[in-house]
């Protein structure tokens, strides 16, 4: 199936259900992005795109971003639309499952954090905290395809 993706981070291999996440996100993307009035600002891509991250830092950045979405973003994305909430739950539980797998890499020291990934993640947090929490969470959720594209 085109479903799963084996992400290789140096010595670490993580099987990720990308297709399921993309199906869930695609179903609500327009709805979520319509709730984000400030389209000129980006949480993940300002000032630099994720694609500029060094390959040796990919594992650490991915680990940070899973934690970011699970710990900070999804809980502030509740909407009045039951269908959207169900899809957000689907994505959040998939992220939680992947976060667990990546934690194993991190614990086995196969997911080093260099200066670049630390700086990049600080910038993402600064972008996030520069907005009110609901706007920041909705914007981050709306940028999920940026993360998925970068991961693939």
């Amino acid at each position: 199936t085109a479903g799963n993706k084996i992400l290789h981070f140096g010595a670490c291999r993580v099987s990720v259900s990308m297709a399921e996440i993309r199906v869930g996100f695609t179903a609500i993307k327009a709805n979520i992005q319509a709730r984000d009035p400030i389209r000129t600002l980006s949480i993940l891509s300002y000032p630099h795109s994720l694609h500029k991250v060094n390959s040796s830092d990919r594992c650490c950045i991915t680990h940070h971003l899973f934690n970011f979405y699970v710990d900070k973003v999804f809980k502030h994305c509740k909407t009045e639309d039951s269908y959207v909430n169900r899809k957000i739950s689907s994505i959040a539980n998939s992220f939680l499952s992947m976060k667990r797998k990546l934690e194993q890499c991190h614990e086995q020291n196969r997911c080093e954090c260099g200066r670049e990934s630390t700086e990049k993640f600080k910038q993402i947090l600064a972008n996030y905290e520069g907005l009110n929490v609901t706007s920041a969470a909705m914007k981050s959720l709306g940028e999920l395809d940026i993360l998925l594209d970068w991961m693939e």
């Binding site: 199936t1 085109a2 479903g3 799963n4 099987s15 259900s17 297709a19 399921e20 869930g24 699970v70 710990d71 999804f74 809980k75 039951s82 269908y83 909430n85 169900r86 739950s89 689907s90 959040a92 539980n93 998939s94 992220f95 939680l96 499952s97």
Partner: protein
């Protein structure tokens, strides 16, 4: 004050080949139609979202005693499920599934398959079991089990060409399904054998 409606009982999951159904016993009120509503809670909701529950709209105020929860059980984590009954203004307590449900416990069956000898070509038709499924196919020339070959079929879109057969020889095939999301396989299917066209004496 009207008696509280009894909560649904015997709540259980039927899960086969990554299709998951919540079922329960009906609440019987003579001459009345009782309706049911289902909610789920993933591990994310339990750990990070104040143990919140999410309603399944397709299973809100239904009269059936089963709900297809496949679309909502879309991660390999532990889920809680509950159902309650409604009758007019009367409403029951929630009946909750005993224990969690994780889709990695789904029961997997071997694929339905059809082996075809098309002249000298060994072909295989496989059942489409859904996007989560891959198949591991083993095939061999009868009597040469030690030279068994394998093919992994990731997407079932058309007939699979397995091999070009020797004239008149008999070839056998068996297959198992595999789900990468839960990293589990089914048992193997029954073995099916077919014979290639032509006369074996051609090879003597």
């Amino acid at each position: 004050e009207e008696a509280l409606l009894p909560a649904p009982q015997n709540i259980s999951i039927l899960s086969t080949n990554m299709k998951h159904f919540l079922t329960w016993s009906p609440v019987i009120i003579q001459g009345e139609t009782v309706r049911y509503s289902v909610e789920f809670q993933g591990e994310y909701e339990r750990v990070y979202a104040n143990e919140s529950w999410i309603p399944i709209s397709e299973c809100s105020l239904i009269t059936a005693t089963a709900c297809n929860i496949t679309e909502d059980i879309s991660a390999t984590v532990a889920y809680n499920l509950r159902v309650r009954a409604d009758l007019g203004a009367r409403r029951s307590e929630w009946g909750t599934l005993k224990g969690f449900f994780n889709r990695n416990t789904t029961s997997l069956t071997p694929p339905v398959m059809k082996v075809i000898a098309d002249g000298y070509h060994l072909l295989l038709e496989l059942e489409d079991m859904g996007p989560a499924f891959q198949f591991r196919v083993l095939y061999w020339k009868k009597g040469q089990e030690r030279r068994m070959q394998q093919k992994v079929v990731k997407e079932v879109s058309s007939v699979v060409h397995l091999d070009t057969m020797e004239a008149g020889a008999e070839y056998c095939v068996k297959a198992q399904s595999y789900v990468e999301d839960i990293n589990r396989s089914s048992s193997f299917s029954q073995t099916q054998c077919v014979r290639a066209q032509g006369d074996t004496s051609m090879w003597l």
